[in-house]
Symmetry: C2
Subunit: 353 residues, 2 copies
Amino acid sequence: MIALDAMGGDFAPRTAVQGAIAAAKQNISIQLFGDEDQIVPLLYQMCPDWTSLPLTVVHCSDEIDMGQEPSKSVLKKKDSSLVKAVQAVADGKASAVVSAGNSGAALVAGTLILGRAPRVMRPAIGDFIPTNNGSIFCIDLGANTDSKPAYLEQFAQMGHVYVHMVKNIESPRIALLSNGSEPYKGSSLVKQAYILLEKSHLNFIGNIESRDIFSCDADVLVCDGFVGNILLKALQGATGAISHWLKKETSSSWLSKLYFYLGSTIFNKLKRKTDYAKKGGALLLGLNYPFIVAHGCSNAAAIEQALIFAHQIEEEKFVKLFNEQVAALAEKRSGVTMVVSQKLRSIFGFRQH
Amino acid sequence: MIALDAMGGDFAPRTAVQGAIAAAKQNISIQLFGDEDQIVPLLYQMCPDWTSLPLTVVHCSDEIDMGQEPSKSVLKKKDSSLVKAVQAVADGKASAVVSAGNSGAALVAGTLILGRAPRVMRPAIGDFIPTNNGSIFCIDLGANTDSKPAYLEQFAQMGHVYVHMVKNIESPRIALLSNGSEPYKGSSLVKQAYILLEKSHLNFIGNIESRDIFSCDADVLVCDGFVGNILLKALQGATGAISHWLKKETSSSWLSKLYFYLGSTIFNKLKRKTDYAKKGGALLLGLNYPFIVAHGCSNAAAIEQALIFAHQIEEEKFVKLFNEQVAALAEKRSGVTMVVSQKLRSIFGFRQH
């Protein structure tokens, strides 16, 4: 059973309802948390026989808006769709939660209600960014806006475990995002994290600059959540701007129009490559239970993907395995063996590496 | 007279010598600082009658490499090309300095030898990033890797003055780079800077996310130097990666090859648009004298542009005017009138706005 915060996201609850119907048709059980006066009519409208699907609605009288301050709203709004959906997982009524709402509030609710996994200091958001030769796993992409050196070391450990499990790389190469490749470069936070990583048992390869992430040979890129968020959104912004400029250039002459016509296939391929939202959302790493944070601007297809992703990682007990490995690494226990199934890797889009 | 650190940069001294010859042919007086055993033969090789140009060579027995720790190397290497070039400006023998070398060392040398302008807490690097509808002035792009809220407020003041002078905008709209547009978003540094900017007399329009910088209506984007550097290089990296992917796609089929052939003009236009190094370098703002920091990877044309830029801003007394305005703003003096010449704006590529 997946708990879905149906009121979270820019186009909620419509996209949530539509995504949930699509996922439920693939035999995934979903509980929709939100205002039943809005949700039930939408369900009947989009799928008249929705009651035959594994879908249930749990009424919530409140919701947390994108503009609300996370900690306060989570603590005050006990009857909000987010808090109740997360609580359902903590109570064992659902096995994973999905929300496209206020991500700061999601982090607070996840940490307070689901709890941090053993040995984890701060949960983090990690995801793959496509590069010239594959992809790089970036962590943290926005969960922690103020970090300490030890948090960055743990993000590196989480990145190590994630990439090991998902890509089957024995010893992932870990890099630190900085303003220069030299060891002395960086904010004081980065410089201190550099020292910790150098001393660690991880395969630390040093600093890399943001312009080199597409061509570097690192598997994991470690940064604090504020910087990671700026980086991720800059890449999205640049992709959008370049596409905009190309379109503008290509609409100004006859030759250009022909060029644009010929190029539509290529553009579409490119768009898929730079679509960081393919999986529908990112996993909040370091919590006791699976929590998938989807983009605020998610459409129904993205919500559907996030629900499928939540279902698949739960079937493979990914979060349990992941947390065990992170704790072992934090405790510097030796002889940790990791059994990673082929199926688990395929969930993340990676087969035999 | 412009002082050029001829040993700074990835392709020095060759690019420095070639760029200096090109600029000297446009009647700009240049003093080349560096190893005369390398520089003089290059001068004869590239321009046999170079002695008829306004070019002189000042021998320096040392240089500062890219990999060296800035503060230590500046303090120790008194006979390095960088330190001697900067010293020439402080001594009144040259009016501006250009270096494509270690930018951290440039900042240290600039601050220690040229001194901070009145009321300036920290010098900063600011430059324009092209957007969908023009450009946005970003400050700081890398001078300060650890900032305080008051520094960010002053970067905003410097951005205000710069854009006012260069674009002739009466009250530039100032935005703060954050991980969300809501006022409560951001690192603790950004949240504190938000409060200072809200109280200031600047035209502060709030937070913006990095994905929105291409489409937002802000004139100035304020950030700390570490984040600004990550942002700038991420945009450069994304431009390169997208161009790489497009080329890869367009080399795989007959139709694609035709597409690529047709598109070369468009690609070249785009490349020019995303070439942040058009002026050859950025001005270090907040110092008593003009200091232009060029990219480490500068070619001869970029060095030439940086020298021309240095000469032009010096002719218009830009730095003197700029520093007066920043001091007035910091002291909250009223009735500051600013006389901005049409010529000055054209130097920066902006005419009547």
